[in-house]
Symmetry: C3
Subunit: 319 residues, 3 copies
């Protein structure tokens, strides 16, 4: 989908009269290309303004002068709200139209599976009843989808994966801009989700598509049931997640990270390689690799055990 | 469904010889109409006895004299258990029988969608494969149901809603009476669930129907994935729930309440307008609006931060 | 499925030249029969070695001499990893092939239900659209499956059960062996799941099949929505679980155990009859019956309340 910048400006209620360019998507300041629109909404990203390659940027008047000459400023005092309105232009219309998938050898596909357009399956793919694969989904060879799995459009599943029943991959990330009167305007999630090779995902998990770019679950990672992986997470290779883990948006995990049952991350942080978060732990900021963490907020597990002992001592002494 | 009171009494094993009336449902003391049966099970509702409009009330002998003359007392020393037995009479039989829905213009409905009887769809409704809409469901115009959504009978969905895959709306609330030998008798959940306009609900959420009356998610509210909203909750307008939130039964939330990831309420409480509960917070009693809360039990967030600092200090001092 | 021991050894990369026997499955040291393979991986089970009836045991050279003469030692320094490789031999191939189920009288089965081979339904069974019942599933009389329920192969459901939408029973437990380079090798979960009579299970729950043997939910237990019951759990009769509870693997619960919302167990422990774990409680070790527990780690509730008061006091005093 490509629009003239002037068209976009008009659609989202901005007055723009300058040079017109073609815009074919939206991305962050650091990732946007010259044919993409970006936005500036948070002072902590100010250092990125001068380096952005975005063709145009939704930005307040005060910061607009920090943009390079190659980026057109679309001046607004509500850049995030305008971003939300613009995001709708680039979303794929959801329809029931489908097609026969391209498929490799020896696939075993139930008659009660529904495919969108342009789906591609490798060899020896097994898909049981009630699964749905949206437009442009790809599934690698030797992968097994148990019944009632939903893969939204654009989802990519690697080879030798096992996806258990009820799991939903590629559903919309949770992103909204807010009006001054407290209403929420959807930021259409136009990225996708990629599950690499040799991943196993348990039952009734939810893995959201990215707002821009891609949500990743990397090679060899195994996750249990009822787990939430939010938009723009990047889960490293060979991670292990026990049941009911929740990753907030833009959590980046290294390789071989172990997350205990019901543990969680708040968003926009990194967990280093070979870390372990024990059950119920909550990472509220980035954590160094190679260590074991516990508690909320997460601290080193041995400290947490000492802390627990201290806390217990508050009443035991008195007994 | 209408029964003679004498029939109900007989069915649930009570001896009743008085005036006979028609009973067409069950409700609480405060909400029951003259054609409904109610029950008295908890001393804290004693003040409602004299004001009830219920046609008949399951009640112990001692309290029966507090009822107004218009309410017939059905005397029992196990009113809650008898309520459970009576609730079964008013439940809708679940069958596979369906019918073609009434539908507005330009609907896009997958062939693998199943409808109960008397379903009504507005204009431009899109429903993808694997969805199920039970008897008497209504879906407003411009609403989108992603694949594998289940709407139990009587569920009402507003206009411009988006419901993501795997979400279940209108399933039975969790309500049981208990026998003296420790068995649990189902209280049939004969209410419904209503989702108002402009609501978005993430993947694999569960929103239960009310035991009596209605579970509400009000206009403009946006909820993330894997969220539990129990029976008889009333979620106000423009609320925001992050993933894995759990609301216990009869939680009433004002407008613009924000619930962080994995936060929760225990039941039968109110959360005021414009409150925020941060991640993992648990509201154990009603909370005043306009404030931010943290911790379990919930306290004001700034106090919780002080408390966390104190707790951390228990070991840091010793180091 | 039966293999020669020599075949198994070859498949998993072990050199074995001794007496050959037929092996038809895998089980723990204490449960394995003379026609089954077992494994020794954890010093705490050393006392079981001399008593095992297993036909053969994957075991390190040092401990092999503790086996009885009736058990053949398959020597390896990675018994758990070899177990994982062997487990694959005994797993049932998942295919879309199905058959018409055997069914009792007056069943009401939607046309959009899919059955594997050799499914058996009792009388008056109701199964709504989108359900999937794998090979060898049995469903007792008067049981109701709401739409989009998935029962993996070998699952047994009792009489008068109600299973709500989106629930998955019999999915693979979460079990992996780990290579020295940090990769995870699936331990195929060749057990099953059994739900006894009069059980009600809420929406979007996940109940995993056992790795060996059976995961049980016993008679009369009622569980709410979004609950995780891991492999090899044994949930006693007449238990009550509020929403978002998570049981880790091999949790054994007595009768009438009450688990509050978002409470959990870590694995390999027992909870005694008539215990209550309040909301958010985590049992980290076995708990005596008849008591109420709170906190993480779980302590007696009255102690936990005292502890909470002490903790609150840390800041209140200072105010």
């Amino acid at each position: 989908m490509t629009y003239k910048l002037s068209q976009i400006a008009e659609t989202i209620g901005l007055d723009y009269q300058g040079r017109d360019i073609d815009i074919d998507g939206i991305h962050t300041l650091s990732e946007a290309s010259p044919s993409q629109l970006s936005f500036f909404n948070d002072a902590k990203y100010a250092s990125q303004l001068s380096k952005t390659k975005a063709g145009a940027v939704l930005i307040d008047a005060k910061h607009a002068k920090l943009l390079p000459e190659t980026s057109i400023a679309l001046i607004t005092d509500e850049p995030y709200l305008k971003l939300a309105l613009a995001s709708r232009l680039f979303t794929q219309k959801i329809t029931t139209k489908g097609d026969v998938p391209k498929r490799g050898k020896n696939c075993d596909i139930d008659v009660q599976v529904r495919f969108g357009k342009n789906v591609t399956l490798g060899d020896n793919v097994t898909i049981l009843a009630g699964c749905y694969l949206g437009d442009n989904v790809t599934v690698g060879s030797n992968t097994l989808l148990h019944p009632n799995v939903t893969l939204y459009h654009g989802t990519q599943i690697g080879e030798r994966c096992i996806i258990h029943s009820g799991t939903v991959i590629g559903s919309d990330g949770y992103g909204f801009a807010h009006t001054r009167t407290g209403e929420h305007v959807k930021i259409y999630q136009n990225g996708n989700a990629v599950i690499e090779d040799d991943v196993e995902i348990g039952a009734n998990c939810t893995i959201d598509r990215a707002v821009f770019g891609t949500t990743y679950v990397r090679k060899g990672t195994k996750i249990d049931n009822l787990i939430q992986i939010a938009h723009n997470c990047d889960v490293g290779e060979h991670c292990l997640f026990a049941s009911q883990v929740g990753l907030s948006g833009s959590s980046t995990l290294g390789r071989n990270v172990v997350m205990g049952g019901q543990s969680a991350t708040t968003g926009h942080l990194s967990i280093g390689d070979f870390s372990t978060l024990v059950g119920r732990c909550v990472a509220t900021k980035s954590l160094e690799g190679g260590k074991t963490y516990g508690g909320f907020p997460a601290i080193e597990h041995r400290m947490w055990l000492r802390l627990q002992a201290k806390i217990s001592g508050l009443i035991k002494k008195k007994k």
